[in-house]
Symmetry: C2
Subunit: 183 residues, 2 copies
């Protein structure tokens, strides 16, 4: 079974984080949420979530993918965290996957693990890099980096992660079960 | 400013609950989450959320809408709660709005506040009532009752609530901001 770590920093985008957790767990993939700087984290829209663990206890050895929810200031808090940076760099060095949605690809950029092509929240590429920004895809994969656009693409992003780390069959079953015909 | 109460019972559907909270709060509407039987509630996919209050402290006087997330056993836990039932009946008596998504219209039915037309998770109408079930709409409004289908329609349901309790302008702004072109 694949294992996915989702770091949660103060101000994480609620829909993006929770949709990724829900869809990936539905796919039979283990998800561990890791609080950045605390174990109770408040979202961008004031929902208090108790994380499964804290980021200082997380090792790249234990995961196949680390994926970051967006939101402000959630994404910039992720980008500023030395522990998140080290985790992303360790994942990248081991040839493992990293991912981010919305504003969070800025943390991939800061850690130096972003490759050429990527997507992010429209307009936010100005804060990351113009070159390689893909405007017309819900999910972009380039080498070991998976990115997506924003709240309304989080479900499709989760489904693509399920397709990649579980199976095509599980992807189709979940897509139908979620009623996600737009993905 | 309108006020919305979202009861959370053990096993609530993560995406549905959090998407409603997020979208409605983005719309400038006050949302109060109310734990049923506890103030820390675990979702259907094992996310622990600290509710803003508990259901025993909530009064219909204070809200314009009470809307229920689905999920199993979240929805059946809502349907079994005498406090949720009384709150829904009080809202209905006062001519205020009640709503539910996915499996949760069963709680509206149990409380006797469901009107004629409604929607719910496809197939789940067998557990509620066949008559009046609308299969081809993301959101159905009949008198003071708002219903929706499942995880992938939660964002559109939230947006419709914003259109109704905030404004058309806010609806359009949020729909664009969320990238929710499918709503």
């Amino acid at each position: 079974m694949a294992r996915v770590c989702i770091p949660l920093a103060e101000g994480f985008e609620d829909i993006e984080a929770i949709t990724l957790i829900d869809v990936i767990r539905r796919g039979g993939i283990e998800v561990v949420t890791a609080g950045v700087g605390a174990d109770i984290i408040t979202s961008a829209h004031n929902v208090k979530v108790i994380a499964d663990t804290t980021i200082d206890k997380v090792s790249a050895d234990d995961f196949d993918l680390v994926v970051l929810p967006g939101g402000l200031p959630g994404a910039t808090n992720l980008a500023k965290s030395q522990e998140v940076k080290k985790l992303l760099q360790d994942m990248d060095k081991k040839g493992k996957y990293v991912g981010a949605i919305c504003a969070a690809p800025i943390a991939l950029k800061e850690a130096g693990v972003l490759k050429d092509k990527y997507t992010a929240y429209p307009g936010w590429q100005d804060n990351i890099k113009e070159e390689g920004y893909v405007s017309d895809a819900k999910v972009v994969e380039d080498q070991n980096v998976l990115t997506s656009k924003g709240p309304a693409t989080a479900m499709c992003f989760g489904l693509e992660i399920v397709r990649k780390f579980a199976s095509q069959e599980m992807y189709e079953q979940l897509k139908a079960g979620l009623l996600a015909d737009f993905c």
